[in-house]
Structures are given as C-alpha cells and as structure tokens.
Amino acid sequence: MDIERIRQDFPILYNNPNIVYFDNAATSQRPKQVIAAIADFYETANANPLRGLYDWSMDATARYENARAHLARFIGAPSPEQIIFTRNTTESINLVAYSYALENLEEGDEIVISVMEHHSNILPWQMAAKKTGAKLVWMEPDGEGVITDSEIEAKIGPRTKIAAIGHVSNVMGVTNPVEKVINRAHKMGAVVLIDGAQAAPHMKIDVKELDADFYALSGHKMLGPMGIGALYVKREIIEKLSPFLTGGEMIEYVTRESATWAELPHRFEAGTVNAAGAAGLDAAVTYLENLGFDFIREREEILTARLMEKISELPYIRVYGSKDPKKHCGIVTFTMDGVHPHDVSSVLNEDHVCVRAGHHCAQPLMQYLGVGSTARASLYFYNTEDEVDRFIDRLSAIREVMGYGA
C-alpha cells in the first residue's frame, strides 16, 4: 500500500507536510472517514439516542449500537452487551475500581499491578486499596522491560483478588505477558483488567481468547475521536456488576425511593451518550480493518527499526526498553546526555517535530528507571522514512544548540 495515498486520508497530515508528528502514543490523528462519520451523524441523524420514538432518534440509536457491535467484533467480545462505552481508558478503569473493586475487596486482599502502569491504571487501585484495606502489590520488569514468569508467580498469589496490567507500556512500548498474568491470576481465583490503551491501535485483540475479565481502551489512540472509549467485561461479571454512575438512560423503572436498572450494557451508560463519538469510532475500526494489522505492524517495524538504528549512532542518546525494534509498538523513549527532555522537545518543536517529554503519566516507572523524565517519539503506520530521517537530523543538532560544542 502506498503511504502517500494513506496520508491523503489524514487532512492534518497532508495539510502540514512540514510537521513531523511523533506523539501518536498520546493521541493518533484521525482520517477524514472518521471526521466525516461524526459530521454525518450531526448533519443527518442528530437526536438523543435511546429515547425518542421518531426516525432521527432511532437512526441515532442504530448508529450508536452498530458502533458497539462493530467494536465487539473487532476485539473478539462474544456479544455487544459486554461492551460499555465510556469516555476513555481512564473512565473504564475507574468504572471497574468503583463498581467491582469496592464491592469485592476486603482487608488483607491484594491488588497486583506493575510498576510500568500509566497513572490511569494506578490511581483507581490506590483509591480502592485505601477504601477497602486491600494492599497494592507491584510487579517489576527486568532490564529489558520484561515481566518474567517468576515475577508473575511471586506477586500473584492466593491473596490476589485483582490484577491490572497494561497490554503495551506507553513508555517502553513492550508488550506485557498478559496471557501469563491472566492464567496465573485465574488459578489464584483473581480477576484481571487489561489496560489496552496502547495495544488496541497496534494489534489484533481477542478478549475471549485472552480470557480477560476486563479490557479497557480509548478511541482517540486508534484513529477515533476524543471522548469515546470502551470497557469489555466478561459475561458472568457484567451480569452482577453494579452501576457506576446513576441518572437518566440507565434505568428501567424509578419510584420516589428506588430504581431498577436498564438492561445490559445501558445500565453502565448514565446520561446522554456520545453517539457521534461512537459513530466516529465505528469508522475508525473500519479503517483499521481495511488496512489490517499485518500492514500496520510491518510499517511500524520498518520505521522503528530505522529510527532505532539511526538513533544508536548518536553516542549521547540512551534508549529505554528492548533492543529489538519489533518489541516497541512504535514507541521509542530516550534521554540525551546533558539536555533535559523538555529542552529536547522544545527545540524539536521549533523544527516542527512533535515529541512528548516528561514522565508520560508513569512516575513510578520513571522512579524505577532512575530518571526524572524522558523524551518519547511514538510512530504510527502513516509516518514515513523521510520523517524518521528529518527527526534524526534535527535531533542530532540539539546538543550544539544547547551549548555543547559542535
């Protein structure tokens, strides 16, 4: 497939050929098909879904529910009822922490997470631990960023009630051994939440084959709009799960004293829903399916290998995580001797290169790595070899700008 043709689908990219966007792990760009689906919703079907008995509302409802069914198929969920639409991964994880963890944890129980987690997959568990008296237990990776079998066995034990782990780390780019975590946790009688925010854009997900209990993702990292995300929940669990937020749309019957809940999964979607966002996500999923993950992965690997090879020629750059470009999901986190990552990012910005700098919402990992902050270049399939070369060229000029002789 021709990359230039693909880039024609991304208005922000073809309108700004001078800008190199390497912050895809923070949020991806959206193709015009996604933008069109959102506009089409508002232009031709806008009404409050799930409420009205007239055509527009029914059309809005159909688009919302079609998006749900499509996403369910996309990630291998047995039925659309097991997909709850949320705003993003953060909200999905909070839903599980409030509705599942608070009701099922007791003092002395353990929640196992990893030190590589995004704050979104740490803070909800800190909250749940504090409120229930459960203990937070941390898995740590080895030098290449891998959580080993022995680490999994050491940390997930009979007291474990919940394990929560990122499918792909947003800092190291490493794919965690989620199958092994799930196996071990299930043997110990615990449930597992997978934070799929960084995995869903890059690989085929099959929640059923994984046997995940909860799987969280964000639309905006996988070509979809901001403000729509999802939570997959296993059937036995969702049937017993209490609502998270309460209000309109999620009820069956309300009296002055009490209420009964709407059917699945609407009881978890209180208030007017983001139907246009869901329609956009539907189009994003179609776009990803048309490209195919084989193609996406191949492109990412070519670009990442090129970037890692060229960056390794700069002796003052240190790259974190695996030496194998195939194990990065397009994410290359690095530091530059003597130059703070913020200065790296600011100078690159002057040269129209967008990279992230900071702690990447993963401060425990930064502490573990012994760095205050890092810079991160994250690629996606629509980036080009030429962009990688421009990035390296600009990167190699920074130390001179910062006063270290040419």
Binding site: V339, H340, P341, H342, D343, S346, V347, N349, E350, A357, G358, H359, M366, G372, S373, V401, M402, G403
Partner: protein, 141 residues
C-alpha cells in the same frame, strides 16, 4: 527572540556554568520548588541578614530554562531587601504574562531575556519556578 537564539545567547551560559549553584552553610531559609509535570526540582537557599538577602544559592536539576532562570534571579536579588525581591518577582511574573513595562524589564536586567517565554505557554512553569519558590520562601518568614 526565537527559542534557539534564547538558548544560545543567554540560557546556556547560566545553565551550563551557573554562578550560584551549590550548597550554602547556615542558610536562613530553604525551600524546595518542584514542577511535578516536568521534573524540574530546585532547592533554594537564602541567607537574610537585617532584612537583606546577603547570599542565595540553589541546588537541583531540571530543564535549561528552569535552571538558568533561578541563576539569573539570584543575580537580581542579591543585596536586595525582602520587599524589593518580592517586587522584582512581581515584575518577572508580569513579564511572563506580557504586562511588564520597559522600566520593569530594565530592572529585571538579564532575567528580562526570558520575556519571550510569554509566547511559549509550555515553558512558563519552567521560567517562573525559581521566582515562585523565592516568593513562597519569603512569605514564610
């Protein structure tokens, strides 16, 4: 001034060869200032005798702008009274908001080189860290 020029002409010198970096014996006031989102982290030490800042030093790490800004701030506040130092801090903050007068800039001396940070919202916190920490330290007495 564009960013690269700012680094080359002002910031690098203070970042790479700061005049006031180190540990002070018997400081009167010590306060840590942190930008959690960036990892800028300084420890500001002030010696105050008869209401005059007779010595000031900082330790820490962070981006070039944060480090250079503290170093330039110390050039400005040495020998100043507490009120004068706070007044300068107000002028620096005004400069970053884009409301400083020509006279203010003159008083800020070299620190005025950071005025262009007012057009770089992502770097404002870095530039004001030292000043903000000093304000807080002085407010504590």
């Amino acid at each position: 001034m564009e960013l690269k020029q700012l680094y080359r002409e002002i910031v690098n010198e203070h970042n790479l060869h700061p005049s006031h970096k180190g540990t002070m014996q018997d400081p009167t006031l010590v306060l840590r200032g942190v930008n959690p989102s960036c990892g800028d982290d300084i420890n500001l030490q002030l010696k105050i005798e008869n209401d005059v800042i007779t010595d000031a030093m900082f330790e820490g790490s962070g981006c070039a702008i944060s480090q250079a800004s503290v170093d330039m701030m110390i050039d400005d506040i040495l020998g100043k009274s507490r009120d004068e130092a706070l007044d300068l801090a107000g002028k620096f903050m005004g400069m970053i908001r884009g409301t400083a007068t020509e006279d203010d800039l003159e008083e800020l001396d070299e620190a005025a080189a950071l005025s262009d940070v007012s057009h770089m919202p992502a770097r404002v916190k870095c530039a004001v860290l030292g000043w903000h920490t000093m304000e807080q330290a002085l407010a504590e007495v």
